[in-house]
Every structure is written in structure tokens, then in C-alpha cells.
Amino acid sequence: MTKYIIRRLLQTIPVLIGVSILVFSLMHLIPGDPAQIIAGEGAPEKTVEQIRERLGLNEPIHKQYLNYMSGVVQGDLGNSVRSGRPVVDEIKTRFWVTLELATYATILAVFIGLMAGIISAVRHYTFTDTAIMIVALFGLSMPNFWLGLVLIDWFAIGGDWLPAWAKLRPSGWGDSWRQVVLPVITLGTGGAAIIARMTRSSMLEVIGQDYIRTARAKGLTDRVITYRHALKNALIPVVTVVGLEFGGFLGGAVLTETIFAINGMGRLTVQAINTRDFPIVQGAVLVISVLFVFVNLIVDISYKLLNKRIDLG
């Protein structure tokens, strides 16, 4: 097992290098001269030259990459072109907001998804099952931004129950849970639906297994059979989905944050793109990608841990 973890860790190294190259080339993939683009159209040649100088854009490309990377390794992602502040500082505060949002969304998705999936599986082919699965299908097919807008319309504007705009505090969410609710629902619904469907099919498969028959032949109650014998096995494939969802939420936060005007990484990135603040875009994408890679790593390892007994059998 330790061997596996080490091997898996080593495997992330090339992935991370690949990611960094991709992120780095971002600036160079855009047609035209990045310095010119940053400076804006019609900017005087001198300004453009300054920018080029500041960003080291006149050096050979591999040198640029190495420079960038040596900075990254030391925790320096460059400076924002607009504010001049270090990118790391700009990102730091926003990062936690997004992480929190994604975490809450994951918790919501897991909680609702598991409940719905289990109920559906236990009552399969009944009305309850059908109803849950129809709702899940809705949840799945609803685009994020649309759900967000509908929620705002219903609860914030129409009902005035929950505030639509999370207080813009650089340090986080603001102090009321109510500000969190709508964005988390917006972000988590799709995931909940996926997890519900996954849990249901996984449970149904497990319920058909021989060892469930054994459990019934032992005279155990349905409760024990469902929650002890079946669920523990059924959760194994669900774990993967949960991990993927969490990763997805990090990316998906862009829309949600924009709609609810939350100052997270997503919003930061969008703003940076609008203002052509490439160092920020690079930094944000890099952080999210690295996080994604590590979430995947954790999922893989936990899956392996959970699955070990079956794997070798």
C-alpha cells in the first residue's frame, strides 16, 4: 500500500509539470503580442516595451518558463499587471472562499445524493424511486447559472428571504449562513443528482450480490442489511464520483461566483481575463489545477484503500 501511494505520488510529478507548461503557454497561445494585448490597443510603443521588459517577455521562451517555474517553486507567481501586488497575495484570500464554497457544495451533494440514492434503491421500482430519479434528472440537466438565477429570483428578489449578494469581504463569506445557502445549492445540485444516481445503481448492484442473500439467510433485519452490509460496499464507487465532483465544483465555481458576486478564485479569474491581467490568470489556473490533481490523488488512494479487500480477492 505504501508502495502504491509512493508510486502514485511520483506519477503526479509529470502531470504537474505538464500542467505548469500548459498554464505557462496560456499567455503565448493568444494570438498577437502579449505585451501589446496587456497594454491595450493603441498604447504607446514605450509602454508596451516597458511591460515586455517587466514580464521578461523578450527572453527566449524556455528561459521564461524556467524563470517562471523557479518563482513558482519559491511561492512567487509574479505580480498583477493591474494592481502591481503579488499574485500570491491576490489569490490567497480568494482561494479560501472558493475552497469553502466547493466544500460546502460537496457536503450538500453527498448528503442529499446519498439519502436520495439509498431511498431510491431500497424502494426500487416504486413511486418514490421514480419520483426521486425524475428530480435527479432535472437536477442533472439544469445548467448552473440558470439554477442560480432562478434561486435568486425566487428567494432573494421575489421572497426577499435570503440575500442574493454575499457580502464582499476579502477575508471570506460574511457572517451569515444565509449568504452561503443559495450559492451552495446552486453549485451542489448537479453533484447531488449525480451522486444520487450513482448511489442508487451501485446499491442495486450490491443488493443483488450473493453476500446480501447470506445476510438475509442469517436472519438480520432489513435495516442492518441495507446500512451495514449493502451500503459499505455500495459506497466504494461513489467515492470516486464525490472526488470528481469536488474537483468539478472548483472549476464550476466560476459561474456561481459570478452570479452571486462572490469574491472567489472564479470571479478573480474572470475579472483578470477581462482586464487582461495574465499573471493573475496564470496563477489562478495553476492553483486550481494543482488542487485538482491532488484531489484526484486522494480519491485514488482512498478508493484503493476501500477497495483493497476486493481487489486482491
Binding site: K3, I6, R7, L10
Partner: protein, 343 residues
């Protein structure tokens, strides 16, 4: 009368690498078949028996080069198959056919029976196109099906009928040797008897040679001329049917035979109970591979690998790989703890 040697297997080894470690290096081998030799004569039926995982199927597959043997010779009709280039080998495939437990498991379910047979003949180019339809019908009738069934799909047949189709497919290319790997094991007794009888009749009619792989000793006794007993990749005893069943010499063969329940309520049978489980072919026991479970095992058994030898009181061609065949026979080597049971 000296019969013609059709297949000579000499020193055959089949090792499967086990990958592991950081870079997927080969860390060990499954020694599935480890240096076995035997001969099959034209027109006879030789069976391989033994417990699950002892290397029966691997032997069959290695003969056909479905997996490349690690070492050893497979001489068929005077020609060493292991030395042939791939293309040459394909031509020889028509002489060596194999029937599996469920032949249809490896067949496209959207092919009709006649498609299946047609394809087999097409590949081997044994029958001109025009005559194929007639040949298909003839084949189906040979195996006890009728012409009307030629255009049906696999799922429309019962297990026994599918096995007949598998036999028809093997026959379609006029083979000399047919390897039957658990070919009747999945069938119910009443159907199994039909297929066994069919195999019998076909053998007489076409002078076929069978290598019959099975773990059912009743079936083996019925169909075989000679029997090979395998244990963890090695042959422990070989001989004609009566020598093996009525005069077994190797302690494993004895235990194996005694373990079979016999359909006769009046016969009180003592079954020798072997301790423990079959060892893994990855790290087979040293010396005699049976020593970990053998009631007679001595120090020598742990160290020296026994050869197949014909001892006193054994028929021509009957050989056993045990150091103490004669001593056990004379009662000089006694079982340490011979546990017997009646069910």
C-alpha cells in the same frame, strides 16, 4: 502393434510473468506448467486430470500455441510446432482444434450456426465455396442437429446443443487432434452422456485423437485410453486407464481417487482427507510438490524432485513421480497421519 505417435510434448514449460514494483518489472513467475512430457498416439484418447489451477488448460493452450510456451517442444506429426513461424502455425491449426466449456462464449452472438461453420472453413480453405452449404448440413447431422437449425442464432440453443455446434465447428476443418477443455463439464448428466457418446462415435468414424481435459473422474474413466494426473504444474502419474484407476501408485492419485464420491449407497468408502489447500504455482513447494500434503512425506521429499519412473508391479507405460512408491507398497514407509472419513 506400435501405434503412430501423433503428438509428442517434451519438456514443456509455461511460465507467466507477474509484474510488480515501481516500473512494472517482472518480479516472479506463475509456473503454470513446469517441465512436462508425454506422448499421444493416433486414434487414442488421453485425459489430463487434476485440481483447479494445476495447469491442465495451460497445457492445452501451449500445445496450440495460443500462448507461446516458455520452453520445450511440441512435436505434431513429426514437426516441432514451437519452431514454426506464426504464419506456418496457422496452417497447422486446422489439424489441431479445441473445444471449450462453452464454445459460444467466444463467438459473435449475431452469427448464425452456418456463419460460424462457414467462417471456420473459410479461414482454413478446406472446402470449396460451392460445396460448403452441403458440408454444413452434413456436419450438423453428424453432431445430431438438423439442417433447419443452420440459420439459427446461438441463444436459440440449449447448452448441450451449443456444445454440439462447438464440435461441429471443430470437425469442419477435418482435424486430426481435438483438445476438449472441460467440454462436457457444464452439461447436465443426461445431456453430457449424449455428447460423450457423440465424441465416441466421431472418434471411430474419423480416427480422431482426443486430448481430454477434465476434473470429472467419472467422465475421464469413461472416455480415456490413458490418463495423465497433474499436480501444481507437474505430471505426478501417467498410465493407461486401468493402471491409474485400479492400481494407482502416487499418493496424490490415491487421495484424488479416494475423494470421489461413488454413486453406490452400499459401498462404504473411506476417503483419504488431504490436509490444507493446493499450493500456489507461484512458489511451488521444493522437492516433490506434493510433500506439503502427502501423508507419507519423508525428508528426501522436501529436497529432491522425483522423476516419473516405472516401478515394480507397474504396467508398461505406467509411471509415477514419487520417491517411495515401492516402500509404500511394501508397507515400509507408513503414513504419518492418515485421516480418513466417510461422508
Amino acid at each position: 502393434m506400435e501405434k503412430k505417435e501423433l503428438l509428442v510434448v517434451d519438456g514443456l514449460k509455461q511460465y507467466f510473468p507477474i509484474k510488480g514494483g515501481f516500473l512494472g518489472r517482472t518480479v516472479n513467475h506463475v509456473k503454470a506448467v513446469d517441465d512436462i512430457s508425454f506422448t499421444i498416439h493416433e486414434g487414442e484418447t488421453v485425459s489430463i486430470v487434476g485440481e483447479s489451477g494445476c495447469g491442465k488448460s495451460t497445457t492445452g493452450r501451449a500445445i496450440l500455441r495460443l500462448e507461446e510456451p516458455t520452453e520445450g517442444k511440441v512435436v505434431f506429426n513429426g514437426e516441432d510446432l514451437t519452431k514454426l513461424p506464426k504464419g506456418e502455425m496457422r496452417k497447422h491449426r486446422k489439424d489441431l482444434q479445441i473445444i471449450f466449456q462453452d464454445p459460444y462464449a467466444s463467438i459473435n452472438p449475431r452469427q448464425t450456426v452456418s456463419d460460424v461453420l462457414n467462417e471456420a472453413m473459410e479461414i482454413q480453405k478446406v472446402v470449396p465455396k460451392k460445396e460448403r452449404r452441403d458440408r454444413i448440413i452434413e456436419l450438423l447431422e453428424t453432431v445430431g442437429l438438423n439442417a433447419a437449425q443452420a440459420d439459427r442464432y446461438p441463444h436459440e440453443f440449449s447448452g448441450g446443443q451449443r456444445q454440439r455446434i462447438g464440435i461441429a465447428r471443430a470437425l469442419s476443418v477435418n482435424p486430426k487432434l481435438i483438445i476438449c477443455d472441460e467440454a462436457v463439464s457444464a452439461l447436465d448428466v443426461s445431456i453430457q452422456a449424449q455428447v460423450l457418446n457423440l465424441l465416441d462415435e466421431l472418434q471411430d468414424e474419423y480416427n480422431l485423437t482426443y486430448l481430454f481435459i477434465s476434473h470429472d473422474l467419472g467422465v475421464v474413466r469413461h472416455i480415456s485410453d490413458r490418463v495423465i494426473v497433474m499436480y501444481v504444474g507437474k505430471i505426478v502419474e501417467i498410465g493407461d486407464k486401468h493402471s491409474i484407476f485400479d492400481n494407482p501408485k502416487h499418493p496424490y492419485t490415491k487421495a484424488l481417487l479416494s475423494a470421489i464420491p461413488v454413486p453406490d449407497p452400499d459401498r462404504e468408502r473411506n476417503h483419504i482427507v488431504l490436509r490444507g489447500d493446493v499450493p500456489s504455482p507461484i512458489d511451488p513447494p521444493s522437492g516433490c510438490r506434493f510433500h506439503t500434503r502427502c501423508p507419507f512425506a519423508q525428508e528426501k521429499c522436501r529436497v529432491d524432485v522425483p522423476e516419473l519412473v516405472r516401478h515394480d508391479g507397474m504396467q508398461e507405460g505406467h509411471e509415477a513421480a514419487c520417491h517411495f512408491v515401492e516402500e509404500i507398497e511394501r508397507g515400509e514407509v507408513k503414513p504419518k497421519e492418515l485421516q480418513v472419513t466417510t461422508f
